[in-house]
Symmetry: C2
Subunit: 407 residues, 2 copies
């Protein structure tokens, strides 16, 4: 069981978490519960680091921000014990959850499950501080990146060979799209690992991308469900599982959108070998993730226009890097746009159906929505459009692929 | 160097701490800095524990409340590194600082100084999270009690064989008495370990009692000084040292007072063997600390009145215990008073001077102050009086023993 920041935001909510734990335990389960920091706490700690020094030491950052989860783990253990359920908290280094030394974005290297299993045999619920691990031989605390508690939970579930991993959050499952934009969005009963991975990568915030990769790789049956349900009458949530386990396969399973995009266009770039490298190698070296590259031959045939997207947070840095290299690259002008959004349709059914994306391009054109860029892969396609058309585009595609709930 | 909660209350103050560290490092010192949690943070964590369950699990309490120091240790390390000083934070379990398993009031059993010393040889400042340790073989976090960071600092100083241990606080040293009550109070240049121990026990809040015991036992030269001084022009503070190192010995060194007292009187207790045990054994078993016991023969010679003090926080519990045992003890009535204060005079010079206390009784009587109880030891005496007379009594004794600063 994993509970995120809003589910443990105060003592009353942690008591509610204890009720969920009690229900599962009463049903005979041995349980490890992974908890995040109380909502807002991690942001507070991150802000202090940034105030202390803009380029803070990442190992110290980890030592600081990992402390929030220690508090919730201890509080949940206190409440469980107080209600008669044997329990103890586990800090990342106590288990230990071993990671590499990539502070701030560490990857789990191994988990020693012996201590937790011994606890189970004593009837104890293991309450685990999420988001964190330990690097050896430095003996220092690491963290797994924002949303890392999801990954803690899936990795623990794999390590203790759990029957299931329930990710409790503030929504009751994975939806066909964001219900705030499309009231007709439906909760999915099941979604394939590959689809969930694309959805998480393309803007759906329900799970950390890495946790889905890990669940897929280690075949962990993962449920997304709500901590705000009545603990005695919980909804089943959404099961993330192998494609083969989904009987009624849709062509498109969900529509995601991401506002975290910015577009850069370089006009009249000399159309000669090596020019792509001149643009993209410096961006890669600066750790800027480039997406959706398109190249259009311009009026005169010796130059081309190159358009691509970068995360909004990296927009200014990317612009600066390219402007500094204007001479080396050779372009006439650089145009940027931040008011763009990437809308994506995801479904493993696309593998066996042709023309899925083409249908979308036509539908969007009919609504007067201009497509700035397109990318496709085996099980998804994305279009970059003006941000003003986000809702219209998402609703159009949601209807187009038959995802609307019956009225 | 040790900095308490008010000295690290926010990032700006932690920057100021870094300036003190830099000054000492520039002067050639190898430094371990012990830090407390930002002021208010420990109280917040304790309040959450109490809200979670009145009888919270003490091991979980420790895991929770020890987290505050991790934050300040990381932040100070970030700021030191940012200003070009090699540094790293150390959590209690990383060093480790080993303790017994008395959660909430653990005692340090041993410190492995190898990691810190290796850091010194690389030029690193060790920033140590105070107040906490690790118990083995349980591998669980322990805490040393309120004010425990003082003890962390003294124990570390002993372990690394430091030349000195500087306790930075919000006052610039140890005073002859509380300057808020006696404006003529003077900062002491030196104070003997034994005197400091009595002062801390009798109400002076400047240092945790256990830290003074440890400094005395391990002969750690300890200074109390201010973190709010200009880091480039610091005042020397007060040295706590062996009695022999103090040349100009006063008879009385300081006047302390404690409002944390409550008085209980049992009237007409049968004057027979075993009655004292009937009263005080149950209190001891309930971990209630009894002080200042006096026994007065009452009008009829077969019974006596017994008066004693307990900490205010334990007053109601003590009363309940005694009322439940009224039959077994045999007394006519129980009277309690919470508006009392214990005023004490401390000085190693009392050992060689007779009549020091008698002088005080006379002076207090002349001011019309009624003494409810008296205790004396080799180097101090205490009187219990009505709380309303606190300031008058403290000022009277401060003048009486020549402690007032020259005008």
């Amino acid at each position: 069981m994993k509970f995120g920041g809003t589910s443990v935001a105060n003592i009353e909510r942690i008591r509610n978490v204890a009720r969920h734990v009690k229900r599962e335990r009463d049903a005979g389960a041995e349980i490890a519960v992974v908890v995040s920091a109380m909502s807002g706490k991690t942001n507070e700690l991150v802000a202090w680091c940034a105030e202390a020094a803009p380029l803070y030491d990442p190992a110290e950052y980890d030592a600081i921000v990992a402390s929030g989860e220690l508090v919730t783990a201890g509080l949940l253990a206190i409440i469980l014990k107080d209600s008669g359920i044997p329990a103890r908290s586990w800090q990342g280094w106590q288990i230990p959850i071993l990671t590499d030394d990539a502070h701030g974005v560490a990857r789990i290297a191994g988990i020693d499950s012996a201590g937790l299993l011994a606890g189970f045999s004593r009837g104890e619920v293991a309450v685990v501080a999420g988001f964190q691990g330990l690097h050896q031989p430095t003996n220092r605390v690491t963290t797994l990146g924002r949303g890392g508690s999801d990954t803690s939970a899936v990795a623990l579930a794999a390590a203790i060979k759990a029957d299931r991993c329930d990710i409790y959050t503030d929504v009751d499952g994975v939806y066909t799209t964001d219900p705030r934009i499309v009231p007709k969005a439906r909760r999915l009963e099941k979604v394939a690992f590959e689809e969930m991975l694309e959805m998480a990568s393309l803007g759906a915030k329900v799970l950390q991308v890495r946790s889905v990769e890990l669940a897929m790789m280690r075949k962990v049956k993962t449920y997304v469900r709500s901590s705000f349900d009545d603990p005695l009458k919980p909804n089943p949530g959404t099961l993330i599982c192998d494609e083969e386990d989904i009987v009624e396969q849709q062509i498109v399973t969900g529509i995601a959108y991401s506002t975290d995009e910015a577009q850069i266009t370089l006009r009249r770039v000399a159309d000669k070998p090596g020019v792509a490298a001149a643009i993209f190698v410096p961006l890669a070296e600066a750790n800027i993730n480039v997406d959706m590259i398109i190249q259009v031959v311009s009026d005169d045939t010796t130059t081309t226009d190159i358009t691509f997207t970068v995360p909004s947070a990296e927009f200014l840095r990317a612009k600066t890097i390219l402007e500094e290299r204007r001479g080396a690259i050779g372009y006439s002008s650089l145009q940027g746009a931040e008011d763009v959004v990437k809308v994506s349709a995801i479904g493993v059914g696309m593998r066996s159906h042709a023309g899925v994306a083409a249908k979308a391009f036509k539908a969007l054109a009919e609504k007067g929505i201009n497509i700035r860029a397109i990318t496709t892969s085996e099980i998804k396609f994305s279009v970059l459009i003006d941000a003003a058309y986000t809702e219209l585009a998402v609703r159009t595609l949601h209807s187009l692929y038959g995802l609307d709930a019956a009225a």
